[in-house]
Subunit: 220 residues, 2 copies
Amino acid sequence: MTKTASSIKLFGFFRSSAAFRVRIALNLKGLGYEDAFIHLRRGDQRGGDFLGVNPQGLVPALQTDGQTLIQSLAIIEYLDETHPEPPFLPADTAGRARVRALAGVVACDIHPVNNLRVLRYLSRPLGHDQAAIEAWYNHWIATGFEALERLLAEDRRTGAFCHGDRPGLADIALVPQAVNAERYRLDLSPYPTIARICQACMKLDAFAAAHPNSQPDRDD
Amino acid sequence: MTKTASSIKLFGFFRSSAAFRVRIALNLKGLGYEDAFIHLRRGDQRGGDFLGVNPQGLVPALQTDGQTLIQSLAIIEYLDETHPEPPFLPADTAGRARVRALAGVVACDIHPVNNLRVLRYLSRPLGHDQAAIEAWYNHWIATGFEALERLLAEDRRTGAFCHGDRPGLADIALVPQAVNAERYRLDLSPYPTIARICQACMKLDAFAAAHPNSQPDRDD
């Protein structure tokens, strides 16, 4: 296929949960994309080539429509604005604020504190061992998930998914974090609503196909 | 004044940069609001009263139109949707993605790693002293600002403000982070574009009036 201005290239890494979000979003919109694998553990993100794509040296980055987009939530909002169906946000302003807030709980308050570069800093220069790093990781997930569970369980706008009966931005943020939590052996049973929603999501092809284990660059 | 459904109550703390963002946004929209002070250092955010408002136990929270909104960026997008003038986002989708991404660099990748609760965890249980915590703080600000400086300086859409010649979502996110950085004695001279934009912002009443030093709950 000839590349056109509307071709989509995703710079990602199978294990990055921010890239996982964008994979889900592209799949839900039915948008095909080309993969560019940036191996975070090998340090591809610090190479000049990739820093030219994203000066932040983080994945995901998305090239489409002749431009480079960064920051997963900004990318997903862009995809939603340029490809409105199916919508990732509800039609009402209050609902939109709720869904953006639920996504923010994950994307601002859980994920960044547990990002690979932060865990590495705990190891060096700070000198912590794997046990301390796992305790850190699980502390921030548990703190975030306790709040998220209440925000979901106590709000009648929660349906089969985080907001109503269609997956949207909040589910796109939540599922990769839950998959990561399972990898760190976090018990999800204190968070039954989160667990139920994630199970519902993983039954959908768009989510399942975006899972780290299904990515061609998987190496563990 | 009688309280109506459209009255606005902001749960904040003078030193919280996420609350600072919302104060700027309210001021730019010309919206008056009532303050509810949640003293983070004294632990008000962990009290049952406030956890009933925001189960996350974080500020800001905003009560308006009969509901409680949380997460600063979601709140600001809500204010922008319900009070469109002056707009916080450009009209074009690419510009919107850029502005949301710039805001995300601060709100997702700098701020949460340096939040009070994270710095406290470094102190206890992890046992680090003030010097190590300051090094941590400055490391993440410098990492983020280096990228942000490039994203601003190398893009001709940057104007007097982060995007064009009107302050918007990216400036609202950036300024509180820069004010915080100055407090930690970070030298902003390696980031001339960031410094220039922040100076332009602080000349505006909406930003100046939102500064921590101008808040009634200031106690340091």
